[in-house]
């Protein structure tokens, strides 16, 4: 009975200023629990979510980085990052808490075409 669709979750907001990043992540985890294949794409300020060493206890929030680092446990290992979003912020793949694949804008358009359902946060 399983009819799998390919899901792409686009996350483009920073981790703590609003609930967007948490909502994107919860959606990805829930979709994975339904055993649907999920990819995540981090664009724009969403790349800040991937920074290592987040310590949000002082602002009374849960550590989004810690939940993100559990993605492989949910078999979500297709993680994509906009290369220019990362580099324009002075960051690189070594700053990220998970292994990610860097994409240019052509590859991002291609990635979107390769998925059946795309949800943007």
């Amino acid at each position: 009975m399983s009819t799998n669709k390919r899901f792409l979750i686009i996350s483009r907001r920073p981790p703590y200023g609003s609930s967007h990043a948490r909502d994107a992540l919860d959606t990805a985890l829930t979709t994975a629990v339904f055993e649907q294949p999920v990819s995540m794409l981090f664009l724009d300020d969403g790349v800040y979510q991937l920074l290592q060493a987040q310590q949000p206890a002082g602002i009374q929030q849960k550590n989004l980085g810690a939940t993100l680092s559990a993605l492989p446990m949910y078999d979500i290992d297709q993680l994509y990052v906009c290369d220019s979003a990362l580099r324009s912020r002075g960051l690189g793949p070594d700053d990220c808490l998970l292994p990610v694949q860097l994409l240019d804008s052509n590859a991002i358009a291609q990635l979107i075409r390769n998925h059946d359902v795309v949800l943007s946060f």
Partner: protein, 111 residues
């Protein structure tokens, strides 16, 4: 059941039986929670409970069934990393029951 009396210590529980103050957890608390079910805890139970506590330490949430199976498979071996194995140890809903006994909050994204 809204609390557990353990010698001098009073352990408050929420209406689903999870600890209100996670720092109150001890192996004795797990034994007492399991005894209420009743569910005798063997070494096979304990290795899953400690694995869950490690998971929570690292990822800051209690896992649903799928990531629990994966975590068990990765650290205790593929023989144990199967739903049926966990269902035998923790009947009905392994992710919820094991999290409760391990002193974690209720799993998020748990269906």
């Amino acid at each position: 059941m809204t609390h557990l009396q353990l010698n001098e210590q009073r352990i408050e529980l929420d209406n689903e039986g999870y600890l209100r103050d996670l720092s109150q957890w001890s192996p004795q608390v797990a034994e007492a929670l399991a005894a209420e079910i009743p569910l005798p805890l063997s070494d096979a139970h304990w290795e899953v409970l400690y694995l869950l506590r490690d998971f929570y330490q690292r990822f800051e949430h209690a896992p649903a069934m799928r990531p629990l199976v994966k975590a068990v498979s990765l650290s205790l071996g593929p023989e144990k990393g199967r739903s049926i194995y966990l269902l035998k140890l923790f009947p009905d809903s392994p992710a919820k029951l094991a999290a409760r006994l391990a002193g974690l909050p209720k799993p998020t994204n748990c269906l």
